[in-house]
Amino acid sequence: MTRRGVASILIAAVLVVPLGGQSPAPIDRVARVERWLSAVVHHRIGTLDAAAMEVAAWPNAQLSVLWDDLNALTLLMRHPDQQIIWVPLQTRRPEPVYPKPQALRLMVLACASAGIAETDRACLKNDVTASFDNDLRMLERAAVDGRGAGADNFVLKYGALLETDIALLAPASVSSVTRASGGGAHRFRVELTDGEAMNPHQSAVHWEIARMLLDAVRSSRTEPPAPARDAMVREWYIATARWMQFNVHYDLTHLDRARALFPDDREILFLSGTQHAIYATPRIQHALKSLVLPPGYAMDAKADVAELRQARTLLRRAVEVDPSFAEARLRLGRVLALEGQFAEANRELTVAERSATDETNRYYAALFLGAVHEATGRFDEARAAYERAGELFPLAQSPLAALAALARRRGDRPGALRAMQELVALPPNPELRKDPWWIYDIWHGRDADDRIDAVRRLFARESP
């Protein structure tokens, strides 16, 4: 059992940038939006098909600008007659983002995307359907139909799922780190291997695009966006956050947005808490110390004390929302123990061990309880807890090491050697070993793929 199937960890960074900088010519931008809409129409959800591959192949810089243009599209879908403007830092005078022909074409795309080409006054006035090609006609029909997405959410939800499939299934697209400037969304990532940070790079902003699209989801055509009232959006955040943690692709921004939308959701609180707890682990903290960031960037992982505090707050809220949430109690207990709050840790872990429904979580609870008892001088209780953990997973090295260290600490050298004897007898090949401690940081994401599949099934369809 390896601790993780991949050797590297990715952490998203918070990007601190002013608007400005170079971007592709406007004609390319609107044409790219049109290509993207075609991909949404043709993409088969849950696959890395030709449509997804086309979008996945676009350079990161162009995807960054696409984020801006899709943002403009979502605004025009609600108000097709509006003009998209921006305010350059240099002049501080409002300017149209798109020249008139491109602005008009973007409005056509918005009318098709929202399924309002034949109902909205501005769309009718501009006779947008006259310039529809086959893909736009398919898009408009799908948008009117909604295809399970509701209202004008077809492009938003199917587009988000296209971007999700690319993020999950396509090989990572990386580029060298550029100066922290330029509009659009940016994603800076760093790989952590064996406790060291390396290979800082910019990566594609598929998650950012998906989040932005889902932010525009609304429950009816006449209402403003209300993603927090949408069950699919909630499920999407939970499933993707679980996937990220299980696959060691850490992104606090994702969870922050989820929590802003669903502040009292037990699972989102839980996943937010586990993410902060993971950031407090030595493998992340060690790597942070070796990381040199380019100017203008800041990591979203802080010092371990701050991360543990945040983890405790979030996990405690998860338990308050659902007192029967045993796995949240387990994780909360561990965090409390690491903070030295042993009395409360003892309470949470005791409940967690009693109510855990699977062996692995019972193992964690027993192991952590052992540490709490040991820290508070209750050595007999500590030994009993470690032994319970060892009985659940006899090939796990952690309870044996804990028992040996405990005996050594008590001056019981023969006892230490007895525990060590069992450790010596473990098979040397790590693949033949079984210590859940090694996968503690991913175990809570074990059903990620099932959750992702469940979201996809809501929208599974043949290509139009």
């Binding site: 059992m1 390896t2 601790r3 993780r4 199937g5 050797a7 291997t193 064996d194 406790g195 060291e196 299980f246 696959n247 682990t281 030595p282 493998r283 060690h286 110390k289 070796s290 040199v292 192991l367 006899p394 090939l395 090295q397 952690s398 090491a401 804990a402 040996a404 260290a405 050594r408 600490r409 001056g411 019981d412 050298r413 023969p414 230490a416 050697l417 007895r418 060590m420 004897q421 069992e422 450790l423 010596v424 007898a425 473990l426 098979p427 040397p428 090949n429 790590p430 693949e431 033949l432 070993r433 079984k434 210590d435 401690w437 090694w438 996968i439 059903d447 990620a448 793929d449 099932d450």
Partner: protein
Amino acid sequence: MTRFHAAALVLFGAEIARGAHGGVAAQAPFKSRVEAVRVDALVTDHGRPIRGLGAADFEVFDEGVPQQVDLVSFEQIPLNVILTLDMSDSVAGERLDRLKDAGRSALATLEQGDQAALVTFSHAVAVRAPLSSDASAVRQALDEAAGAGETSLVDGVFTGMMIGESDAGRALQIVFSDGLDTSSWLTPAAVLDAAKRSDVVVYAVAVKSAVKPEFLRDLTSFSGGRLYELEKTADLSATFKAIIDEFRHRYLVSYTPRGVAKEGWHRLDVRVKRKGADVKARPGYLAGG
């Protein structure tokens, strides 16, 4: 969930493998022994070992209380050398080859009566060869050793230390790691506590990086050993040989504590009554439960 399914299959295999290893535990050569205070001391004059000292040349102060030195030995006591080697992801290719070469070099220096053991660690700690005077068996285990994964440095060091304690011989643990701990269950504090109770001397070799190897620094300091931070692993073999050479030139000073508490931390001060003599020994020990 491909990865988890893969892990589950591995776990199933592990249950079968455990049965196959059922006989190993019974053969593990652990013996208990009577507690005594032994202090390994390196005595040098301008970096060169001073030879020929006797018990009368030493002064040992336990918590400031002068002690009667019972025995001083030099060179003639066989060594137990425990190689504790990092075999995580970062040790691969040429670095792994050099590490194995260094291990072989260390084993080649063993003399009549010496014993050696091999512990490797990635996320899993593996005792590849228990303490044995058969250096060729340890060498074979080293040749066959391979690893991948994260780094359980702290768990690995503790295991090596316990192997050192399992035999009455004079124990030297040589630790190599090119990274920082990422997956141990034991905390550095717990293993430092064990080191303060142990007479195993730990020498550690780390590869220089942006992050200081604080655990190895503290560990070697508490055990009276030494930390080497190398720029490159090309020097590993020479370093391992130098460690054993230096250890052979250490005196083993033993005494029965008198006039001090039985439990708790005991500050030690080892001196040599000779001008210019520099003594390197562990700064203290932890007694009792």
